[in-house]
Symmetry: C2
């Protein structure tokens, strides 16, 4: 693949001071200790470090050099890249700081141009380096992790380093670590695409403080998620958090609720903490897919079993009771006092063999299992660990284990891990991890549930409004032209037209004033209801003209009296990170007090719109409570989906509201509209 | 204190088989290894274990015996207790199972009676024993923990054992461990009261699967919580969890929402997992009280700082920006590129000295601090650890630390712990622990906020209803008699009375049918609104009599037409664990769809009722949104509090509803009522 020289170089030149404790010195040590044989170091004095010979210039280094690792002062980096170009070096890691993050944008642009000219791909500058365990490449100051199949990309070097420290501590291996720093050349998007096809990476962990290219990021994550899970910590959730992120990276973070919706929408798995990131990645890395929600819990003590059930149900797993048939087959192997329902409680006297049998038999009717072993400080856990490994292999299903207390508990935990069984400190953590895997698998295999995100450029049409707010009849026409149900309406510019229009609509009618200078029509008497005949229609027109006296009066718009329905709101807005968003809520106090509103990056299909409708808290109102008829959520989903296309069709639309939309047993109708342009 | 012989025996006799791996053998080993010098073992053959001499009967053991640890078969336990009585043994730990948990209630009653007769206090039977580290007593099969100041009481031996294993693993000490098993004599209540006054215990951890004596438990926890924190895991939250708890302990668990409210109400700190229990107890055990919400975060890298801020704000801590004055004094010690806002970011080059100064200076204007150190695998963390210890001591304020990555990270973590600084895996965990401590301190020091729970026995009055449902006028009278605002009303049994009554109320009035056999009055035309004069009143009476034809017709009740107000519901119900509960919600779809309803164990004072009102999701509606006037929440709190007294005043009341209560800008009125007796 295109980036292979970045990950699998055969020879590396490090740039920077060879002095003890200096970055380049440490990097050479890391590379040599990591198993890279061909390392040289370049610095003004040509000083060597261990087996790495020293040179004063890259041009002096004999043989091929595949990669440059640059930890030299910022002002020397461009020259180094020029030398790289001369020597045909194809990839670089620029650890040096002092570029755009420190206000030196010109310096960064210069090195980007130089690299481009020479066809050099690089990560950084201002990054913590990278690791490719399968390529024996440890080009970072952070902890060197064991070999494995979790890839991690981190916007923060420290967070990446902590993740690798966890990896080393718990023996759960890493395939690649990437710290992209300022992202001068290789961005998180390109790295993600590479990892998608990387056979050594089974799951991708991502730590982000900002998402600079919202929609492209979504599109990439959507593609990658279809192949392997992308687990993300996006920090800066709270107001102070956002302040801190701002001061740290100089980048703008979008509002967290929008970010959450966007990440969900493109199939990413968002978690909260570094530990969650590690625990969830460990599950994906070590277990086969969780193809269903039915969990078996096999334990030797009640309390931890109960706590595991609590968490598993909270997270959406099912703990089905054992069938009579399976109960009978369990009883063949288990003592009479063992519990065979679910949790299957083998009691404190359980042997390894009984654990093994219980796991295998329980998994004949469930999708995954958690094994809990809470021993005593004088009993051996290893027989149980061995039985878990064998039973998991035989079943072919995902199994994870919790082992607490035992004379050989540490060896047992290591034995499990080395034989592919992930271990967790608590059953609760194991349950959360399995639930996440079940959610991912369900989503990955569901058809067409991750909508394509259209590029505005493909569809852009001229926005028809002359002012920055469309007049009501213009806005209604635009809705109608785009397949959104609106009431019949007539625009009238004099009394005669008003009477004729009202008759055409059919009495009784509503008449509203139309003027770009009158926004809150009701407040100034600009809305007349229940107009019964031509006389009243003409009089209403006069009234409206009087109201608009001295203002830019354009006429009136005439509607039929609408039947009241359940009131909902559909809105459009633009997010600085993700662009056009569509919002849906119940309107009124529900939206205001409960914040019962949900977002998607626009546009979305009808299926996704249906999910929006179902995920608001007050959804049961639409489904019908207390014997009331259900509202037409099909028509509503259609309307949300159509409406969500507008900002793509008319890129000048900045904000829009249908408030209220009347929702009926059959159909839905946008009763009022507001569309704002640039 | 009364139970001191239980915790601090000078000599212990163990009962049971001396064979290798047998319980009594293990227990003797545990006791000897734990530092108990005077241990003997009693079994049929009189076999010894190590330094513990063997005897065939307790009567043969020379000298005083303070405590019996019984691991002999169930059927021998009563005889052993008789011998204990003869020898003046004052306390016992009965580990043997085979009593009420196995259906042998008679056996349990027998040993309870024998113990009582001899004045022997015991824990068990069917328990995992106990530990008193300060008394050198390790009378359990579970892990022996280091000495410290966390007391743990666990309904599950395995959970207690796991807790002690964590204690040993992380070097956070325990004062006492108590597994009370079936609670034949000493219950969790008596143990809690003992621990309240135990100078060695700074915080109490509690693992429960059921709360058998709900109100007494609350009263005890309330008393203990006023002195030291009680941190509780109550499992069996979910439906399957409740099933598992049932099969495990044979005890009935109340609904979790009620349990949650009850635990909060009595000042307990409820946490979810064993790990939370340990982490929160560690914080209380090692740090001084957190007397405010202002948190300082001192870090050397942005990412972990941001994630810590996210969690701290979510948990209700404040991350105030550094004042200009303090910024200036920070800048004296810190490099120019350090961030001085909050988090204070010392950057990767920070020295121990800079950490120390930053902590001390930051704490001059904050209540507590989290120190984050994310090093690299070749840098030393110890200078920072030393500085943290010194700065925390100088400040006298709570400080906890997170240290990740460094050549000497393990020693640094141990150094911190040994010098009283709790360490956490992540800043998020530290933030959650500090927030919990701040909440506890705020609650403990707030006056009168933990209401006294009255005993129904003190107040019980006869319930005035003859049937199991009070007639509406009876119920309204009962409300009125007890200080709850109801509409004026008249009960009329004939046409004349109806007309006279209506006139007395003042037209227009509402007339409702009164019959014990008509429950849904509106459905059968049993409610007439807007009655304008005597004529209509008489006619309404006739109509009601016709409706009730063939039923037990008692008459009609007459009300004025009430002004509509904001509708809320107040209810009473009985919980099997906690007894009478009072509920408050917004009524209608809010209660039905959103489950926007809150509970308290009754009775409660006006302050607590005010908290109920403020904690429902739709509270902003009552406070007034969109420029609407606020409702009279004072009057509402008064009504909830008065209503909550009813089940104590009239113990026959099983359930009651005021639905709706009309809430006005001034005042509140119970517009309809339903009271059910036994």
């Amino acid at each position: 693949m295109a980036l292979d020289t970045l990950f699998y170089p055969k020879s590396v030149a490090v740039f920077g001071s060879a002095g003890e404790g200096k970055l380049a010195n440490v990097l050479v040590n890391r590379l040599l200790d990591g198993g890279m044989d061909n390392v040289s170091i370049v610095n003004p004095k040509g000083l060597p470090v261990r087996a790495a010979k020293g040179y004063q210039s890259l041009l002096d280094v004999p043989g091929d050099v595949d990669m440059a690792v640059i930890a030299a002062p910022a002002k020397t980096v461009n020259g180094i890249l020029e030398d790289c170009g001369k020597r045909g070096v194809k990839s670089a890691i620029i650890i040096s700081s002092g570029f755009s993050e420190a206000g030196n944008k010109a310096g960064e642009e210069e090195i980007i141009a130089t690299a481009k000219r020479h066809g050099i791909r690089f990560i950084g500058p201002n990054c913590a380096g990278m690791v490719c365990t399968q390529g024996n490449l440890v080009a970072t100051l952070e902890t060197a992790p064991p070999k494995g199949n979790i890839a991690i990309i981190s916007q923060s070097g420290a967070v990446g380093g902590s993740f690798m420290a966890l990896s080393a501590q718990f023996g759960v291996g890493i395939s690649k670590f990437l710290s992209y720093g300022n992202g001068g050349d290789l961005t998180v998007l390109e790295l993600l695409r590479y990892l998608k096809d990387d056979g050594d990476s089974k799951v991708i962990a991502l730590y982000l403080e900002s998402i600079p290219t919202g929609r492209k990021f979504m599109e990439t994550v959507r593609e990658v998620s279809a192949v392997k899970p992308v687990v993300i910590v996006k920090s800066g959730r709270s107001s102070s958090g956002q302040r801190a992120a701002l001061s740290h990276t100089g980048s703008m973070a979008g509002a967290d609720k929008v970010c959450d919706a966007a990440l969900r929408q493109c199939g990413a798995i968002r978690v909260e903490t570094l530990m969650d990131l590690f625990e969830i990645c460990k599950a994906f890395a070590m277990m086969p897919a969780v193809k269903g929600r039915k969990l078996a819990i096999i334990t030797n003590s009640g309390g931890p079993g109960v706590m595991t059930v609590d968490k598993a149900e909270e997270k959406g797993l099912l703990i089905p009771e054992t069938s009579e048939e399976v109960k009978a087959s369990l009883r063949e192997y288990l003592p009479s006092f063992a519990g065979v329902r679910n949790p299957i409680d083998l009691t404190v006297e359980a042997t390894g063999e009984q654990y093994g049998k219980a796991i295998e038999i329980a998994l004949t009717e469930r999708d995954c299992a958690i094994v809990l072993y809470i021993g005593t400080p004088y009993l051996k856990a290893m027989p149980v660990a061995e039985a878990v490994v064998a039973a998991a292999r035989n079943s072919g299903k995902p199994v994870c284990a919790v082992m607490q207390v035992g004379v050989d508990i540490q060896e047992s935990l290591i034995y499990l891990r080395d034989n592919g069984i992930p271990t967790y400190a608590l059953g609760e953590n194991a349950a959360a991890a399995l639930a996440t895997m079940a959610n991912y698998e369900e989503r990955r295999t569901a058809e067409g549930n991750i909508p394509c995100i259209l590029d505005a450029g493909e569809l852009g049409r001229a926005f028809k409004g002359g002012t920055n707010r469309l007049l009501e009849p213009e806005a209604m026409k635009l809705l109608g032209d785009n397949g959104i149900t609106v009431p019949k309406f007539v625009f009238a510019t004099n009394e005669e037209e008003a009477a004729k229009g009202a008759a055409k609509i059919g009495y009784p009618v509503v008449i509203k004033v139309v003027s770009p200078q009158i926004i809150h029509k009701s407040d100034c008497g600009g809305v007349k209801l229940n107009i019964e005949n031509d006389e009243e229609a003409k009089s209403a027109f006069k009234h409206m003209r009087e109201i608009a006296e001295g203002k830019d009066f354009r006429g009136v718009v005439i509607y039929p009296m609408l039947k009241m329905g359940r009131e909902v709101i559909i809105g459009l807005t633009k997010d600085p990170t993700f662009g056009p968003l569509v919002a849906f809520g119940m309107g009124g106090v529900y939206t205001e007090v409960l914040k019962d509103i949900t977002f998607r990056v626009a546009p979305i299909g009808k299926d996704e719109a249906g999910k929006m409708i179902r995920e608001i808290k007050m959804y049961p109102l639409l489904r019908g409570v207390r014997g009331e008829a259900a509202s037409d959520t099909e028509a509503l989903a259609e309307m949300i989906s159509q409406f969500s296309l507008l900002p793509l069709l008319y890129p000048d639309i900045q904000e829009a509201d249908l408030n209220p939309v009347f929702l009926y047993e059959r159909g839905a109708c946008a009763a009022d509209v507001r569309i704002l342009g640039k």
